[in-house]
Protein backbone atom coordinates (compact mmCIF):
# COMPACT_ATOMS: atom_id res chain seq x y z
CA UNK A 1 0.00 0.00 0.00
CA UNK A 2 2.81 2.32 0.90
CA UNK A 3 4.65 1.53 -2.31
CA UNK A 4 1.46 2.38 -4.26
CA UNK A 5 1.16 5.68 -2.44
CA UNK A 6 4.79 6.49 -3.10
CA UNK A 7 4.33 5.55 -6.77
CA UNK A 8 1.33 7.91 -7.03
CA UNK A 9 3.33 10.65 -5.32
CA UNK A 10 6.25 10.12 -7.72
CA UNK A 11 3.86 10.31 -10.66
CA UNK A 12 2.39 13.55 -9.29
CA UNK A 13 5.89 14.90 -8.85
CA UNK A 14 6.73 14.03 -12.45
CA UNK A 15 3.49 15.67 -13.67
CA UNK A 16 4.36 18.83 -11.76
CA UNK A 17 7.93 18.98 -13.05
CA UNK A 18 7.62 17.66 -16.61
CA UNK A 19 3.96 17.77 -17.78
CA UNK A 20 4.90 17.55 -21.51
CA UNK A 21 7.23 14.58 -20.98
CA UNK A 22 4.62 12.67 -18.94
CA UNK A 23 1.92 13.29 -21.55
CA UNK A 24 4.43 12.05 -24.16
CA UNK A 25 4.83 8.84 -22.17
CA UNK A 26 1.02 8.42 -22.13
CA UNK A 27 1.03 8.77 -25.89
CA UNK A 28 3.88 6.28 -26.34
CA UNK A 29 2.01 3.85 -24.04
CA UNK A 30 -1.16 4.20 -26.08
CA UNK A 31 0.73 3.79 -29.34
CA UNK A 32 2.50 0.70 -28.00
CA UNK A 33 -0.79 -0.97 -27.00
CA UNK A 34 -2.40 0.01 -30.34
CA UNK A 35 0.51 -1.40 -32.38
CA UNK A 36 0.48 -4.66 -30.39
CA UNK A 37 -3.27 -4.92 -31.15
CA UNK A 38 -2.62 -4.29 -34.84
CA UNK A 39 0.16 -6.89 -34.88
CA UNK A 40 -2.13 -9.47 -33.25
CA UNK A 41 -4.82 -8.73 -35.86
CA UNK A 42 -2.26 -8.93 -38.66
CA UNK A 43 -1.08 -12.25 -37.32
CA UNK A 44 -4.65 -13.52 -37.31
CA UNK A 45 -5.08 -12.21 -40.87
CA UNK A 46 -7.98 -9.79 -40.27
CA UNK A 47 -6.13 -6.46 -40.38
CA UNK A 48 -7.81 -3.83 -42.57
CA UNK A 49 -6.80 -0.30 -43.60
CA UNK A 50 -9.71 1.11 -41.51
CA UNK A 51 -8.11 -0.38 -38.39
CA UNK A 52 -4.90 1.48 -39.13
CA UNK A 53 -6.86 4.72 -39.71
CA UNK A 54 -8.81 4.25 -36.43
CA UNK A 55 -5.64 3.81 -34.39
CA UNK A 56 -3.57 6.61 -35.92
CA UNK A 57 -6.39 9.16 -36.22
CA UNK A 58 -6.99 8.82 -32.48
CA UNK A 59 -3.34 9.59 -31.70
CA UNK A 60 -3.56 13.45 -31.72
CA UNK A 61 -6.70 13.33 -29.56
CA UNK A 62 -5.04 10.91 -27.16
CA UNK A 63 -2.05 13.22 -26.97
CA UNK A 64 -4.33 16.22 -26.22
CA UNK A 65 -6.19 14.19 -23.59
CA UNK A 66 -2.97 13.08 -21.94
CA UNK A 67 -1.62 16.63 -21.98
CA UNK A 68 -4.81 18.07 -20.46
CA UNK A 69 -4.84 15.41 -17.71
CA UNK A 70 -1.23 16.12 -16.86
CA UNK A 71 -1.81 19.88 -16.98
CA UNK A 72 -4.82 19.52 -14.64
CA UNK A 73 -2.75 17.53 -12.16
CA UNK A 74 -0.01 20.12 -12.41
CA UNK A 75 -2.42 23.03 -11.83
CA UNK A 76 -4.10 21.30 -8.90
CA UNK A 77 -0.74 20.67 -7.27
CA UNK A 78 0.25 24.29 -7.82
CA UNK A 79 -3.03 25.51 -6.30
CA UNK A 80 -2.58 23.18 -3.33
CA UNK A 81 0.91 24.57 -2.83
CA UNK A 82 -0.40 28.14 -2.94
CA UNK A 83 -3.14 27.24 -0.44
CA UNK A 84 -0.54 25.72 1.88
CA UNK A 85 1.62 28.81 1.66
CA UNK A 86 -1.35 31.09 2.32
CA UNK A 87 -2.41 29.00 5.31
CA UNK A 88 1.16 29.07 6.65
CA UNK A 89 1.33 32.85 6.22
CA UNK A 90 -2.04 33.29 7.92
CA UNK A 91 -0.95 31.08 10.81
CA UNK A 92 2.27 33.05 11.11
CA UNK A 93 0.30 36.31 11.14
CA UNK A 94 -2.01 34.94 13.85
CA UNK A 95 0.96 33.79 15.95
CA UNK A 96 2.62 37.21 15.58
CA UNK A 97 -0.65 38.94 16.50
CA UNK A 98 -1.04 36.75 19.60
CA UNK A 99 2.57 37.43 20.62
CA UNK A 100 2.14 41.17 20.10
CA UNK A 101 -1.13 41.14 22.01
CA UNK A 102 0.54 39.34 24.95
CA UNK A 103 3.39 41.86 24.87
CA UNK A 104 0.92 44.76 24.81
CA UNK A 105 -0.89 43.33 27.83
CA UNK A 106 2.43 42.90 29.66
CA UNK A 107 3.41 46.45 28.72
CA UNK A 108 0.12 47.85 30.04
CA UNK A 109 0.46 45.93 33.29
CA UNK A 110 4.07 47.07 33.66
CA UNK A 111 3.22 50.71 32.93
CA UNK A 112 0.48 50.53 35.51
CA UNK A 113 2.77 48.97 38.13
CA UNK A 114 5.84 51.08 37.39
CA UNK A 115 4.18 54.47 37.04
CA UNK A 116 2.73 54.41 40.58
CA UNK A 117 6.15 54.14 42.28
CA UNK A 118 7.52 56.63 39.75
CA UNK A 119 4.81 59.08 40.82
CA UNK A 120 5.90 58.55 44.44
CA UNK A 121 9.51 59.24 43.43
CA UNK A 122 8.57 62.38 41.46
CA UNK A 123 6.47 63.84 44.28
CA UNK A 124 9.01 62.90 46.96
CA UNK A 125 11.80 64.50 44.97
CA UNK A 126 9.86 67.74 44.69
CA UNK A 127 9.37 67.68 48.43
CA UNK A 128 13.05 66.91 49.02
CA UNK A 129 14.16 69.69 46.67
CA UNK A 130 12.30 72.18 48.76
CA UNK A 131 14.01 70.91 51.89
CA UNK A 132 17.54 70.84 50.46
CA UNK A 133 17.49 73.85 48.16
CA UNK A 134 20.55 75.41 49.84
CA UNK A 135 22.63 72.24 49.76
CA UNK A 136 23.98 71.91 46.23
CA UNK A 137 25.30 68.36 46.72
CA UNK A 138 21.91 67.10 47.84
CA UNK A 139 20.16 69.16 45.18
CA UNK A 140 22.37 67.63 42.47
CA UNK A 141 21.59 64.20 43.90
CA UNK A 142 17.86 64.79 43.74
CA UNK A 143 18.21 66.07 40.17
CA UNK A 144 20.12 62.90 39.21
CA UNK A 145 17.44 60.71 40.80
CA UNK A 146 14.77 62.67 38.95
CA UNK A 147 16.52 62.17 35.59
CA UNK A 148 16.99 58.46 36.29
CA UNK A 149 13.34 57.96 37.23
CA UNK A 150 12.25 59.82 34.09
CA UNK A 151 14.47 57.50 32.04
CA UNK A 152 12.83 54.45 33.64
CA UNK A 153 9.44 55.84 32.68
CA UNK A 154 10.50 56.55 29.11
CA UNK A 155 11.99 53.06 28.59
CA UNK A 156 8.57 51.42 28.63
CA UNK A 157 6.89 54.20 26.69
CA UNK A 158 9.56 54.14 23.97
CA UNK A 159 9.48 50.35 23.79
CA UNK A 160 5.70 50.38 23.42
CA UNK A 161 5.81 53.11 20.78
CA UNK A 162 8.55 51.55 18.65
CA UNK A 163 7.90 47.81 19.03
CA UNK A 164 4.24 47.30 19.80
CA UNK A 165 2.25 49.87 17.83
Amino acid sequence: MKSLESAVESLKGLCEKYPAVVSGYFLVGYSFVAIIRLLIRAKKGNLFVEDLYDVFSALPFMWLLALSIVKTIHERSRLRQIQKELAREQLQRQITEIQLSALREAEKALQHRINNPLAVIALSLSRLKRAVQLDHVLLDGTNDIECASQRIGSVLTDFARTQLR
Binding site: H112, N115, L123, S126, R127
Partner: protein
Protein backbone atom coordinates in the same frame (compact mmCIF):
# COMPACT_ATOMS: atom_id res chain seq x y z
CA UNK B 1 11.31 79.20 35.41
CA UNK B 2 12.64 76.01 36.98
CA UNK B 3 10.59 73.60 39.03
CA UNK B 4 11.63 75.15 42.30
CA UNK B 5 10.46 78.58 41.20
CA UNK B 6 7.18 77.13 39.94
CA UNK B 7 6.68 75.39 43.28
CA UNK B 8 7.41 78.60 45.14
CA UNK B 9 5.00 80.53 42.93
CA UNK B 10 2.30 77.95 43.48
CA UNK B 11 3.04 77.91 47.20
CA UNK B 12 2.81 81.70 47.36
CA UNK B 13 -0.28 82.09 45.22
CA UNK B 14 -2.23 79.03 46.18
CA UNK B 15 -1.98 78.87 49.92
CA UNK B 16 -5.39 80.47 49.97
CA UNK B 17 -7.09 77.45 48.44
CA UNK B 18 -9.93 76.58 50.70
CA UNK B 19 -11.53 73.79 48.73
CA UNK B 20 -12.06 70.30 50.05
CA UNK B 21 -10.45 67.56 48.02
CA UNK B 22 -11.13 63.85 48.36
CA UNK B 23 -8.12 61.76 47.36
CA UNK B 24 -8.88 58.14 46.46
CA UNK B 25 -5.63 56.21 46.30
CA UNK B 26 -4.63 52.73 47.48
CA UNK B 27 -0.89 53.42 47.35
CA UNK B 28 -0.16 54.77 50.84
CA UNK B 29 3.09 56.63 50.10
CA UNK B 30 1.46 58.32 47.12
CA UNK B 31 -1.61 59.16 49.17
CA UNK B 32 0.64 60.72 51.84
CA UNK B 33 2.48 62.81 49.27
CA UNK B 34 -0.70 64.00 47.57
CA UNK B 35 -2.09 64.92 50.95
CA UNK B 36 1.11 66.84 51.71
CA UNK B 37 1.02 68.91 48.50
CA UNK B 38 -2.70 69.62 48.66
CA UNK B 39 -2.49 70.47 52.36
CA UNK B 40 0.37 72.74 51.49
CA UNK B 41 -1.76 74.48 48.88
CA UNK B 42 -4.29 75.20 51.59
CA UNK B 43 -6.84 72.54 50.76
CA UNK B 44 -8.86 70.56 53.21
CA UNK B 45 -7.96 66.99 52.32
CA UNK B 46 -10.05 63.85 52.83
CA UNK B 47 -8.87 60.44 51.75
CA UNK B 48 -10.16 57.00 50.84
CA UNK B 49 -8.36 53.82 49.83
CA UNK B 50 -10.93 52.34 47.49
CA UNK B 51 -14.08 53.15 45.57
CA UNK B 52 -16.54 52.03 48.27
CA UNK B 53 -14.77 54.12 50.90
CA UNK B 54 -14.78 57.07 48.51
CA UNK B 55 -18.55 56.84 48.01
CA UNK B 56 -19.08 56.51 51.79
CA UNK B 57 -16.86 59.53 52.47
CA UNK B 58 -18.67 61.54 49.79
CA UNK B 59 -22.02 60.69 51.35
CA UNK B 60 -20.77 61.59 54.82
CA UNK B 61 -19.75 65.06 53.63
CA UNK B 62 -22.71 66.24 51.57
CA UNK B 63 -21.97 69.45 49.67
CA UNK B 64 -18.52 69.77 51.19
CA UNK B 65 -16.29 68.02 48.69
CA UNK B 66 -15.30 70.26 45.78
CA UNK B 67 -13.19 67.76 43.86
CA UNK B 68 -12.37 64.06 43.85
CA UNK B 69 -8.90 62.99 42.75
CA UNK B 70 -9.12 59.26 42.14
CA UNK B 71 -6.76 56.54 40.99
CA UNK B 72 -8.10 54.28 38.22
CA UNK B 73 -6.61 50.97 39.31
CA UNK B 74 -8.36 50.65 42.64
CA UNK B 75 -9.20 47.37 44.36
CA UNK B 76 -12.89 46.45 44.66
CA UNK B 77 -15.29 48.85 43.00
CA UNK B 78 -14.00 49.92 39.58
CA UNK B 79 -13.16 53.56 39.01
CA UNK B 80 -15.85 53.75 36.32
CA UNK B 81 -18.51 52.51 38.77
CA UNK B 82 -17.17 54.79 41.47
CA UNK B 83 -17.42 57.81 39.14
CA UNK B 84 -20.94 56.81 38.05
CA UNK B 85 -22.06 56.45 41.67
CA UNK B 86 -20.56 59.80 42.64
CA UNK B 87 -22.26 61.29 39.57
CA UNK B 88 -25.62 59.93 40.74
CA UNK B 89 -25.09 61.43 44.21
CA UNK B 90 -24.05 64.79 42.75
CA UNK B 91 -24.38 65.34 38.98
CA UNK B 92 -22.01 68.34 39.25
CA UNK B 93 -19.22 66.43 40.98
CA UNK B 94 -15.74 67.33 39.74
CA UNK B 95 -13.55 64.28 39.28
CA UNK B 96 -9.95 63.93 38.13
CA UNK B 97 -8.68 60.44 37.30
CA UNK B 98 -5.01 59.61 37.83
CA UNK B 99 -3.56 56.59 36.11
CA UNK B 100 -0.30 54.96 35.09
CA UNK B 101 -1.84 53.70 31.87
CA UNK B 102 -5.16 54.22 30.17
CA UNK B 103 -6.55 52.79 26.94
CA UNK B 104 -8.13 55.35 24.57
CA UNK B 105 -11.48 53.53 24.87
CA UNK B 106 -11.35 53.61 28.68
CA UNK B 107 -10.40 57.29 28.55
CA UNK B 108 -13.57 58.01 26.55
CA UNK B 109 -15.64 55.89 28.95
CA UNK B 110 -14.24 57.81 31.93
CA UNK B 111 -15.21 61.14 30.39
CA UNK B 112 -18.64 59.76 29.53
CA UNK B 113 -19.02 58.52 33.13
CA UNK B 114 -18.38 62.05 34.40
CA UNK B 115 -14.64 62.55 34.84
CA UNK B 116 -13.57 66.14 34.16
CA UNK B 117 -9.88 65.43 33.54
CA UNK B 118 -7.33 62.63 33.42
CA UNK B 119 -3.79 62.98 34.69
CA UNK B 120 -1.05 60.51 33.77
CA UNK B 121 1.33 59.13 36.37
CA UNK B 122 4.08 59.92 37.07
CA UNK B 123 3.22 63.60 37.45
CA UNK B 124 5.05 66.49 39.02
CA UNK B 125 3.31 68.29 41.91
CA UNK B 126 2.85 71.51 39.93
CA UNK B 127 1.24 69.54 37.09
CA UNK B 128 -1.18 67.93 39.53
CA UNK B 129 -1.91 71.23 41.28
CA UNK B 130 -2.48 73.04 37.99
CA UNK B 131 -4.89 70.32 36.87
CA UNK B 132 -6.75 70.48 40.19
CA UNK B 133 -6.97 74.27 39.96
CA UNK B 134 -8.19 74.26 36.38
CA UNK B 135 -10.93 71.72 37.18
CA UNK B 136 -11.93 73.63 40.31
CA UNK B 137 -12.18 76.83 38.24
CA UNK B 138 -14.11 75.20 35.41
Amino acid sequence: MNEMQVMETIARTQTNWRETILIVEDDEPLLGLLRFFLDDAGCNVLSAKNGEEAVDTYLKHPGEIDLVLTDLGLPGLTAKDEISMLGRINPNVRIICATGYIEPTLRTEMFQAGAKAIISKPYAPQEMLQKVRSVLDS
